[in-house]
Symmetry: C2
Subunit: 306 residues, 2 copies
């Protein structure tokens, strides 16, 4: 998944569980007695012409070079409609046409439709339901985070109810080498990416990056993570952030091609030991990671037809 823009700071909590102490229940998007979120109801039917225009643009994106015929086959739309959409997209500057042949391709202006996409907002939105279920299943909070420049950025969290000790909001940047999230990501990502990250961290000041400047120790740790199947929060990090009362284990969220993100479980040492925690929760954690990997792998939708 290409990383186009860095995370931004403005707070946004898509489809997040409503804090029960904040205000009276909303009319729309309201929780019922069993704490399930109601799906919001649209006011309008989708605008068919808009959906079709977008679909034609998406197929051109897929095909790279498109003709009226290829678009007709891909979308099922009438040829006159396709030409109309193409001319509209051309007029708006998103598509160009070869002067000699009736072939079409994207222009750089399409970047203006996607460049501002903040990955962590979207991923947070997608994983929220699964994360909420997972919290209910295991009784401990989790984060999902993705790598961004020199940190793991928390995209979604199920920490909101429960102990204040765990209080973190989406957008929080966690150190790669201090957290189970970052360590899990690093241990499993592609070799080239891993080398690049380590190189970046080695140049970045801060004691959490010390191990990046000690390749042997780091390499050994990453190997251990891969052998065990999970990563653990750094003991010093736990001491510094939680006075040593919290531990966490994390695993990567990965599909066939790449590591997309990582997920952890955070627990109190006083309630559950690392040994017990791993025994009880590693499998559910890995299962949930696999499910999330599926959800986060972008696939085209069905064609827009009337």
């Amino acid at each position: 998944m290409p990383r186009i823009v860095p995370a931004r700071t403005k707070s946004f909590s898509p489809k997040r569980a409503m804090p029960l102490v904040r205000r009276d229940p909303l009319q729309r998007g309201q929780r019922n007695a069993t704490n399930e979120v109601k799906v919001s109801v649209p006011s309008f039917k989708p605008v068919v012409a808009v959906a079709r225009g977008l679909e034609v643009l998406r197929v051109i994106n897929e095909e790279r070079i498109s003709t009226v015929r290829s678009l007709n086959k891909a979308t099922g739309l009438d040829k006159a409609t396709i030409v109309r959409m193409l001319e509209t997209l051309e007029h708006e500057g998103y598509v160009m046409r070869d002067a000699e042949r009736a072939v079409y391709a994207l222009t750089g202006r399409t970047l203006l439709l996607s460049q501002g996409y903040d990955q962590h907002l979207w991923i947070g939105s997608v994983v929220e339901p699964t994360l909420r279920k997972f919290r209910k299943e295991i009784g401990w909070p989790s984060d999902v985070a993705l790598f961004d420049q020199d940190a793991m950025i928390v995209a979604q969290t199920s920490r909101e109810s429960g102990l204040l000790l765990f209080n973190r909001t989406p957008g929080f940047r966690a150190p790669v080498l201090g957290t189970s999230l970052g360590r899990a990501y690093l241990a499993y990502c592609a070799e080239q990416e891993q080398a690049q990250i380590i190189e970046t961290l080695a140049k970045t000041p801060g004691h959490w990056n010390d191990m990046a400047r000690n390749p042997k120790r780091l390499s050994k740790m990453l190997q251990e993570i891969r052998e065990r199947g999970y990563a653990l929060m750094d003991a010093d990090y736990s001491r510094e952030e939680y006075e040593g009362t919290v531990w966490a284990m994390g695993v990567p969220i990965k599909n066939d091609k790449q590591v997309l993100a990582s997920i952890n479980i955070m627990m109190l040492r006083s309630a559950i030991s690392q040994e017990d925690g791993v025994k009880r929760f590693l499998l559910p954690l890995q299962r949930t990671a696999a499910m999330l990997a599926k959800q986060l792998t972008i696939k085209p939708r069905a064609a827009a037809r009337g």
Copy 2:
């Protein structure tokens, strides 16, 4: 300008001058007697609803987090229309809404509208008219090329008429350190990018990359280019490709923020010496480069209104 995808191999020559030997004049897009290209005439008026949907999407991209109000102010569209567009974009998966507040942001699916954009196709299309004019002005052919991974990829060329010796099509990949295009790009691009490119080239087999493995010589050459204001084709490259009969000078196409591409002029040694060529053509070349930089800097369009 972000580099999202590598160049693809399929030949595409947008808005290119029609080869006069190929077939009878076309009914549309036909050249008149003075060799000017007629602008192709659309069959339909643009679909207003589609244009509006795209405009709303573009503004969300710009704002990162949008409300009905902010979109109303930015686009001038009626609030009911904006909600309708938002719900359509949400239904199609390109936009998500926060459950608590009426705020909207892009999803990762917008990448499916731009990911397949091939930069060199678009740049080739934009620069073609200017390049054709420039060819008429100076009498010698030019290329515009951009950096891509480990080479300069030719996006557009005015070599088609004239000597077969110059025959190159868009999509051709030229060695960075062998050509005036590559050298000009390298000499002027940002320090970090330059270091990255040199590092990549140093690791890449091939004798054109030898100088990347000799940092002192390379650094000296780049400094000389910056002092002179132009780069020259490597003498060995000229010998190998053109039997030493051709020389070229190149300059960067750059705006305030970055180097976007580069442009050259190719000349026969037998017809014009380097000294004369520089004296006569450096200024027009630099002027044209500045013009192209403007054309290649993406700016938003006017809002879509009825």
